[in-house]
Symmetry: C2
Subunit: 652 residues, 2 copies
């Protein structure tokens, strides 16, 4: 019953007070809290308010909710399939060299990389919520697997054991991801900030390029550590093994691949040029190596590849206690990282295309992908940025693309696999270098530097940590700094002194706006949750406002008004802190009042008897009310503003 | 130039906009940030704005600032000394049995406990900022020392090594405390919440009482672990050693001591009754044991005590790598805990008495106390609650009380020490039990349960952890839960939907007040820092408001207004999140505007080009402006409020 024009208080003397209604019950608050914590996206909204619906229809809705393929398959059309088929073709042509590649990175038999593009995509197509994600292996997980497991089981010494441990890691990662999804703990992934990802991916890219120097130089020996100093030293040590033939071939391939990217960048219609680039490199490289008899010139090839689709590997899962700590560590790290990667990729496309997306469902889908993958000779998969981008550019419309990919990959495995055994390693190295060069996002780093120095430090910690020490070190350092930063914001919440803006009649930060203050009255706006970590600070800060008031303009503060509207929560330590502050001010004859506490805060203040001790008359709904009351209390008939002008108040 | 009555906007069409002044420079912000982080209490305020002062006077002020004794000594009077002397007498009579006691707890020679009440009090009197703190050893540190060191060096096997390691721990704790003070890292102590302290102290008290059963039952053997199950099992194992003589004596002493406390509680003029209670117990107990030839009845005594004041122990500090990890761990834990204890005690008295107090100076004073203490055969000291309370009740006025205590203790050490060797252990046990019984603050635990369930859980985690596992486990568990809680508040900041209150013309939470909303316009108030940890959540939450709006009253949201006045800071991840949100809404034809961003937030929004991309016209200073703009934009001539009434807007 109100238009926004009625903003003038109708009766200046009417004191419209704070609503001290009875606090809500504990169970109500608990339910609300749990909902906000674990169900911020309200996943069951489709089932609510529809009690008149038929049971069968509700069951169908439930199935559609948990298994997204039933949502889009019933309305699937031939024209959609044509788009999806083309996109599937594009990603398969990328999947073969990428699969072999990343498997090599993880020191696995190359065929495992191909297997990993068969089973997981089918599962994602069924359970995944994103329409555009293309599933496959990624470089970062591959290299983490190698780094973690090679410390307990060298792939050269016992390749079978190593392979089995990799399946186990994949299983652990999948189980962990599925648990996170079922327990709705997407909150953990939230703690990985964009700055961390930027720095981490950049660092990993540099590290990957360094690793590829082995393939490009045609070295037979290489170091196992990944930091830049060790790698450069290693290359210097083995400098006599460098073959000029592979080096030239590698440089040519990289230039070619970079050129295909340049073409796509110039004209997005030529997306397919860069999409078939890797496959072209592999085919040209294989034919060339075969023709010149590459072995004689030191050009190493992938080697023998068996025909046939994925053999079962469920019996190979190995939970021996000797390897368990490393396996669990790697599994959880890979689980979290591939989730963070995959979810970021999927979400950005769902935003651009306005298609459905659900982080918790993605977790379950990723989890099932990796669990089933580990039973069928696949290793850790996620939604790689490169593949997804190719798929999206190729016009992918639904998750059917992944089924096409799986089908084509099955055909390749069944009939063409041995041919790829002739692929020269240098071609694979060139493909990786070209792929990861684009991941070094220095413009984002510059942006961070300009906007937020701390974010830049978090980013550089990840980058330098990965490049100079190790991947997990960089990641942990960066995450730790992020947490420290978040805690510092908790420990030092921003406060500001308010003054009144004559033009709009509202109170604003005096530092930001030229707002007038009132003589003898100090208005402080508190912000953020007030709790044990900042209760001391808040007290000191208020004291300092009082002192600086007296120091700067000799104005003795007689009344302090705390604007609580920005305080989102409070705990018992903070309430005790406020009582202490109140006591200190009482000793100094300073009155204190509180304006507009929010619901949650007011409830706690009532429960802790704070309101009872202070008195309801010290709580005001608006700053105007509080200022007026303070001035009446101080018996002042005049107000003196910062600019020195004095004006009578008409109603006193 | 304004009275608070001028709150009505003079010209409704005047758009008083957001101040987009150039962002402040990086160095300005850095300086401000460092000041808030490390100097929230503005310690150098005395030296500012006084450039006309003479250099000598400024040096004097500096000395007074860093060495507080120079602040109060020049104005010290005879009458002040009389009060201080009486208080000193009271705490010395407590210091002797307490010192012997706690030294026994730490498995140290009893004389070390007496030494510890000589040197440290002098140092505190010089450097400490509190007027009422009384210095001495505490039970919790003593028991932690025993627990940590007995795992690497049993006191029974090599008492000298054990003693030296204890001095080293004291040195480490002191160095750590002094560093914290000099680096102004009082912020670390802030993370220990009152709930943690309540639970921890209660748990430690229960554990201490259990430990005293050894003395009261007169047992010769006892278990080394401290958890309740092990201790009870131990007593059952050694039940044949229980002596009825000591048990009866112990019960009598405890009843006597509790009675003296009761007397003080009934009438605070009889504070001295409870103050001399422990000394009386010791004297009566010693005389009685001597007369009845206690040894024959199984009453064990303290044993031989040497005459003479503290020998030097600087050469005994032992940094052997074998013991270093345990020593560092114990030193840092004790350093933090005794700071948290001591600072809480000192601050509460300074608030009651309105006397100066400075947490960072206290850290330096505590640090010097322990460093110098470790060089002169003392072990870890702090400001114990029991002693300080006695001192304050006895009329202590300045830190001179500590000098009196030190002087009297020196006399005792020089002449009377051997007499205290006859003290029966059961008397000491009774004194400890009686002292710590008062520390179990169950009323506070009930208060926590009523006000804040999570605080109660934090408190009980500390209590149960200490009682059933170990001290450090309980402490760490409780601190960890506190951090998790703080992080959850960061990850799930409270938001609320705003409506307009007709009576005051201001916008308030619709859940808390009966405020009217506008058709097609959704106003959401964000709160707390928005950063990487909650950027996803905030987006989901806003989406949910839009959906629930449409579900509940079929109102299609066409305009979203975000009230940023409660957002205290923002990082780059969150800015990208806001851009994403904006994009999603654009796809759905929903306009978005922002109201009253704070200075720090606006600076980042400008730097990150967010304002440039969104357009300055989407930023408003007041909610009224934003609502008006949204309605003009939507081409609405009518507003429809929640109660269904319709009213013409006069100016459209």
């Amino acid at each position: 019953m109100e238009s926004f024009m009625d903003s003038t208080p109708k009766n200046e003397n009417h004191h419209f007070g704070v609503n001290f209604a009875t606090p809500r019950g504990f169970l109500t608050k608990l339910k609300l809290g749990v909902n906000e914590m674990f169900f911020p996206d309200d996943p069951f909204r489709h089932f609510k308010n529809n009690n008149e619906e038929k049971p069968l229809r509700r069951v169908l809705k439930g199935v559609q909710y948990f298994i997204p393929i039933f949502e889009w398959l019933p309305t699937y059309t031939w024209s959609l399939f044509c788009s999806d088929f083309l996109a599937g073709l594009a990603i398969t042509s990328l999947a073969v060299p990428q699969g072999i590649n990343y498997a090599k990175l993880a020191c696995l038999p190359p065929i495992i990389g191909l297997y990993s593009s068969f089973v997981p995509p089918i599962l994602y197509a069924i359970f995944g919520s994103s329409r555009h994600m293309a599933v496959g292996t990624v470089a970062s997980s591959s290299i983490i697997i190698y780094q973690t497991i090679s410390t307990v089981a060298k792939p050269e010494d016992d390749p079978t054991l190593y392979l089995h441990l990799v399946f186990t890691i994949t299983f652990v990662a999948g189980a962990f991801q599925a648990c996170l999804g079922i327990l709705r703990l997407g909150i953990l992934v939230d703690f990985v900030s964009n700055s961390t990802i930027t720095g981490f991916v950049g660092g990993a890219a540099v590290m990957l390029c360094l690793q590829q120097l082995k393939g490009i130089f045609g070295l037979k020996h290489f170091v196992t550590k990944t930091d830049v100093l060790t790698v450069l030293k290693g290359i210097w040590t083995y400098r006599n093994e460098i073959r000029w033939e592979t080096t030239i071939l590698g440089v040519i391939f990289i230039v070619f691949l970079q050129f295909t990217k340049y073409v796509r960048k110039r004209n997005s219609r030529f997306f397919w040029v860069s999409a078939i680039g890797p496959m072209t490199t592999v085919i040209v490289g294989s034919v060339f190596t075969y023709l010149v008899n590459g072995k004689k010139h030191g050009i190493q090839t992938v080697g023998h590849l068996d025909k046939g689709i994925n053999p079962l590997s469920i019996k190979d899962i190995n939970f021996e206690t000797k390897y368990l700590p490393s396996v669990l560590k790697a599994g959880i790290v890979i689980g979290i990282m591939s989730l963070a990667d995959g979810i970021a990729v999927g979400r950005s496309l769902s935003i651009v295309e306005n298609t459905p997306y659900d982080g918790n469902k993605e977790m379950v889908a990723f989890g099932l992908m990796n669990i089933c993958g580990s039973f069928t000779s696949c290793y850790a998969t996620t939604g790689p940025f490169s593949k997804t981008a190719v798929s999206y550019n190729a016009g992918c419309k639904t998750a059917m693309t992944n089924i096409v990919q799986a089908f084509l990959m099955a055909l390749i495995l069944q009939y063409l696999a041995p041919l790829f055994g002739y692929t020269p390693l240098v071609a694979l190295s060139a493909i990786i270098v070209s792929a990861v060069l684009g991941l070094i996002n220095y413009t984002q780093a510059i942006h961070l530097f300009k906007v937020d120095k701390f974010d830049f430090i978090i980013c550089m910690a990840a980058f330098l940590g990965v490049v100079f020490v190790a991947m997990d070190f960089g990641l942990m350092l960066s995450l730790g700094l992020g947490l420290v930063r978040a805690m510092l914001y908790v420990a030092r919440p921003k406060t500001c002194k308010l003054g009144k803006l004559a033009d709009v009649g509202l109170y604003r930060d005096v530092e930001h706006y030229n707002a007038s203050t009132f003589q003898g009255v100090l208005i402080v706006k508190l912000g953020s949750p007030i709790n044990f970590a900042n209760s001391n600070y808040v007290r000191e800060r208020i004291m300092r406002y009082v002192r600086s008031e007296e120091d700067s303009n000799g104005d003795i503060v007689e009344h302090i008004i705390l604007d609580l509207s920005g305080v989102t929560s409070i705990d018992t330590t903070a309430i005790e802190g406020l009582l202490e502050t109140k006591k200190i001010f009482e000793k100094n004859d300073i009155q204190m009042s509180f304006v507009n506490p929010r619901l949650e805060v007011l409830e706690k203040l009532i429960l802790s008897k704070f309101v009872g001790m202070i008195g309801e008359e010290s709580f005001f709904l608006t700053l105007d009310d509080a200022v007026r009351a303070s001035q009446i209390l101080l018996g002042k008939a005049k107000t003196n503003c910062t600019d020195g002008a004095v004006q009578e108040i008409n109603h006193v």
